[in-house]
């Protein structure tokens, strides 16, 4: 195998990662015919992270929040997409090393994002359910649905409770949204689907190490989201740091024990920097330190942007929040700056414009913090839906998500409760059983 990127008379920009940062950068630059763009990504699609929890909760299909990369760059002859893992960068030779071989770059943009942070707890990493990809969200969906099926087939009440209980760790937006949706499923859907089970035995827990939920938001939003969750029946426990999980029981540092088979881990992220970057420019959480032009400290031709980058501004001494907005804003300015440099002009420094943040808890319940306005409830919920709908890539995805939401709202139902088991891919050259093959006279 070889990357097979054709030679070009133009400069080559290699972008690693097609999340919000990488995809935005590539799209903004795709029309520059005097730039060759190589976009490298693990999957052949972009994923819309803010809605992973709805995939996990059977409300949306993975495809509705995924967008094929090739569709975003159809007929662009200067854009070369390769689906591959990037192993490391060798700055001295200006190459990245991939599964397909080495690829030379003139400019490199690292947009590798962040992954689940287990804070070094291997026991939890081996058993908890993370939520940082559509694949992981699907796995969580299948696991929870399978648990209900399994709960029908055991006689021990204690074991059944452990199967049904779900402990969500992490009081950020993902944890809040997941716990709220689970509580709604328990209330509206599960008793109808499983009339044989008693769902009073099922508890949804939301555990958070700090003393409030949605710590990055306003106090009003933080308190309101807690009340919404408790109204829905979620057991919210703050100041609880989970440190042990043996597969059937979690324990916290504070001494709490909860029987459960299902630990959903949304407690934090750590950056996924590329190997080969000088470790001294890695900051807190593994983020790559960049200047206000997204240039990696100490490198002239390497940029980092999005969750993996740490750009310090006066208002953000620890870097920007690891969200879609900073990633997209950085990508937009970086694309402009690259165009400016190509045109012989001077680049401009970045300033983050905080557009606000929001989280949804359930039907008619959300919290919104805008720069000059905070509100909660039904209007916040409509705002949340509107903002997410217009942010998603692809008109068809928008339409399908809208229909799904209206449908689910009207019917109180998430209808995608399918445990679709993936068939392992067939390898053409796998060994054939020993039996002698005898051709039939006629196949039909």
């Amino acid at each position: 195998m070889t990357p097979n990127i054709p030679d070009s008379p133009h400069k080559r920009l290699v972008i690693v990662g097609a999340g919000f940062a990488g995809l935005t950068l590539a799209r903004q630059l795709a029309k520059r015919d005097d730039l060759q763009i190589v976009l490298l990504n693990k999957d052949n699609y972009h994923q819309f992270q803010p809605l992973f929890y709805q995939v996990a909760m059977a409300g949306l299909e993975p495809s509705s929040i995924s967008f094929p990369l090739r569709k975003a760059f159809q007929s662009r002859k200067n854009v070369h997409i390769r689906v591959t893992d990037v192993k490391r960068v060798i700055p001295s030779r200006q190459v990245v090393v991939t599964d397909l071989g080495e690829i030379h770059y003139d400019y490199l943009a690292i947009a590798t994002g962040a992954d689940t942070n287990y804070f070094g707890m291997k026991e939890i990493e081996a058993r908890a359910l993370p939520m940082k990809s559509v694949s992981e969200a699907l796995a969580l969906r299948n696991r929870i649905l399978q648990n209900f099926e399994d709960a029908l087939t055991i006689n021990s009440d204690e074991e059944r409770t452990a199967l049904l209980n779900v402990v969500v760790v992490g009081g950020g937006p993902t944890g809040v949204e997941l716990a709220g949706t689970l509580a709604e499923m328990k209330k509206f859907i599960l008793p109808k689907d499983y009339p044989e089970l008693n769902f009073e035995n099922m508890q949804v827990y939301l555990l958070e190490g700090m003393d409030q939920l949605l710590a990055a938001m306003s106090d009003e939003s933080s308190e309101k989201s807690r009340r919404y969750l408790e109204d829905l029946g979620v057991k919210v426990m703050t100041g609880q740091v989970v440190t042990e999980f043996d597969g059937t029981c979690i324990k916290t540092k504070q001494g709490l024990k909860i029987r459960t088979h299902n630990l959903v881990w949304a407690a934090g992220v750590k950056a996924s920097p590329l190997e080969g970057i000088n470790p001294e420019v890695l900051g807190r959480g593994g983020r790559i330190k960049v200047d206000r032009y997204n240039r990696v400290e100490g490198y002239d031709t390497i940029f980092a942007l999005g969750d993996v980058a740490m750009m310090v501004e006066e208002k953000y001494p620890n870097g920007h929040p690891q969200l879609a907005q900073p990633a997209m804003q950085q990508a937009k300015l970086l694309s402009k700056n690259i165009k400016r440099v190509l045109d012989g002009k001077k680049p401009e420094p970045f300033t983050y414009k905080d557009l606000g943040s929001m989280a949804t808890v359930g039907r008619n319940r959300a919290v919104v913090d805008l720069p000059f306005l905070k509100f909660q409830g039904f209007l916040a919920w409509l705002t949340w839906m509107f903002v997410h709908l217009i942010s998603i890539v692809g008109v068809k995805n928008r339409l399908l998500i809208f229909i799904n939401w209206v449908w689910n709202y009207m019917t109180y139902d998430q209808s995608l409760r399918l445990i679709i088991k993936a068939k392992p891919p067939r390898i053409p050259k796998e060994p054939v059983p020993e039996e002698k093959v005898e051709a039939p006279a006629v196949v039909h």
Copy 2:
């Protein structure tokens, strides 16, 4: 584990399989509170087989053609669904043996359907791509899409052609529909998605052992479908029986060789009867011989229906065609007969009413044989869509499929070109790496 089916004062009907036959039977009887129904199925959903090929060709999502079984029987306390494999029946003790343990029946309905028939050719079974479940359809989609990615990364023209070529075996509706859709993808989508590849090197072949396509339909339909396919660029080859496939090349009995990594096997089906049924009542293709009341020969309390059953009528000396229509008609009458018997009345014998058959080749191109009318082309294509749309289970599925079809038609695009790799499920009790776990001071 135990099946945990509660005792009931009423007779228990155990239905094995939730395809067209099993699901219809269960739905028709679900409202009889004086009957306990146990529905056993491998998956927790019903699959709409006629549209598998659209899932394989990235036109529809698996969820659009799947329907959660529990949703079909919400709040029905007399219906017990268990997701399990049924291994065999022990008629002398009136039990079926499942993964969950034994389940007693008063009446047993076997609706286990049919599976891909490789006619004993193990080499082909190990390497070909079948199309008898949504999982298999998804695997086919992922494989074909991955091939295009791989084709970008090799230098050998010969090998690239082998990756791109697709050989579809079997000239029935599935083979015809698949080959037609592939040819359209090659024409409308792939050159845009992969401007780096030359799709003149890709060939779609449709091979059939008999001397015509759609042999079960009229000669007009058969000839027209061939012309449609050839217009789209499909190489249709009849009278060719594939007997060998080493992973890179197929060979036919007639001496034809085609280089390809992709052999799609839609050449035939064989019934999946339950072990434990007297082998003497198994007819051609493994089908269970039943009388006109769907009673299995020699058993008073065991019924078989749908693809797995062979009911002989004067017009159908080899049993009914293995399609949705006979399955559903049999299920409807059997449900009526069971009600009649419960009410102390006499059952009625079955007569199959052929409502016609149809197949689609591509945009605006389909063939329809109704009992007194045959037509092809645009009107046939609309008819095909209408009939499939109203046949699918679930109003939301219908709506989503309709939107997808309209969208794909207008944009000449199948937009679900996502290779979503399934994450292996996490087992709660899997061993934990040896490293000592050190709890962090604060999780956040």
